[in-house]
Symmetry: C2
């Protein structure tokens, strides 16, 4: 079905394939996230997620700088650098990392403890580091493809904001600034990333590598939440719902 020797998929078929594989495996369907949105997470569970997910956040500017270093095109680098600035900020306390630490304080965590990343679960660390490694070891186009989970982020963020405001009002609406900022940015990043991948993945083999990288990325995100769920006493390892479908190897 997905032989990488054939002719390149048409742009539309390629986009459909990326979207289908991504949507099916995206971590919005993880039971832990579904409980988050249903309002049944305990404060300790919210804290564990916030603390561990922070490590993922810290990897973003690092993997994005790696992506910048892989491009020969000033225009691409100019556009992609915005992603680093989104997380690091234009000055102290202004970027996504600082906003996440405010969220951490709002859910009752010690800011410095979270910032130190010393309590991050080993499995979360492995998964997030695997994301950086994937970007480092892949051609530019494939590294960019691994960012395409951004295509599915705006919906998840919008749901999350509504759910937290309704179910966890003790966190405070102020503290959700990171999620709010991500909605338009993830849309912009997802659109730009998709356009780049479609334009650059000129062979079937490269297209398959892009699909593989996106799948690997969904596994990374899924595993992160899995680890948090297991550490907080839940079951884990079930994987995304449609397990029967064939899984491409990145």
């Amino acid at each position: 079905m997905s032989g990488s020797d054939g002719a390149p998929l048409s742009p539309q078929v390629f986009v459909d394939r990326l979207r289908e594989e991504g949507v099916r495996r995206y971590h919005d369907q993880h039971p832990f996230h579904q409980r988050m949105h249903a309002g049944t997470l305990t404060r300790a569970e919210l804290q564990a997620w916030t603390l561990n997910r922070y490590y993922y956040q810290t990897r973003i500017p690092i993997k994005d700088a790696i992506i910048v270093s892989k491009s020969e095109d000033p225009a691409f680098r100019r556009a992609w650098i915005r992603r680093i600035v989104d997380h690091d900020g234009e000055g102290p306390e202004t970027g996504g990392l600082a906003l996440w630490l405010r969220l951490a304080a709002a859910v009752g965590l010690d800011r410095d403890e979270v910032a130190s990343c010393r309590s991050v679960l080993p499995g979360v660390r492995f998964a997030c580091d695997a994301y950086v490694t994937l970007c480092r070891e892949s051609p530019l186009c494939v590294a960019v493809a691994s960012s395409l989970t951004e295509m599915f982020a705006p919906d998840l963020m919008s749901k999350r904001i509504a759910a937290w405001e309704e179910h966890y009002p003790w966190v405070g609406a102020e503290a959700l600034a990171y999620f709010r900022a991500r909605v338009p940015r993830a849309r912009r990043d997802g659109d730009e990333g998709l356009a780049f991948v479609v334009a650059q993945a000129s062979s079937r083999a490269l297209q398959e590598a892009c699909v593989g990288a996106l799948i690997r990325k969904t596994e990374i995100l899924w595993h992160l939440v899995d680890c948090v769920q297991i550490a907080t006493g839940g079951a884990g390892g079930a994987g995304p719902p449609a397990k029967a479908a064939p899984k491409a190897q990145p």
Copy 2:
């Protein structure tokens, strides 16, 4: 004299050592640069230098993005990203690379030919690629140390501007915008880089690695000019003046 097992050098001794090794080997002393400043380069020689040096320029944002990707500190990344923006610009035609292409046109080269890098001398390519590799394979502090030739750049740039205005007026003062922009930026970059290296190189071994990286960088810059000199009919390979002094191995 430079055993890397001993106690760390004091900050002042370390800075003096970096400065001494750097100044002694900096490419301002290369015969080709001395002829450039004396006004005796032909138009073809100026063109060859401008075309080949452009390849070095294109490596800067790439090695700087690698450096950004090695840091865990948002404040460091914020500061270092400015270097990428300096070369890529805030928009099309605004950065150092665009200014260099204007210089190339002003010395009579075809802008697209220069931008393509297809006529770059092999030795120049090897040297410039070695700079990217050095940054990729070194710890952050050592990669930053390789940028410390910036400490010596403002003087060279100021001399170059005066020399080109006097001896090569046909190039036009407008076209020297890149050199002019570099004077304050190189000073800022050199100061910031030096402060970082002094603060971070906490062991004698790391200090020696930093000195070694700076020396390697001076060799890269020197070799670039050497290749241009040889290709335009001059002698090459003489190396910096004080050859008798011991040469550290990075």
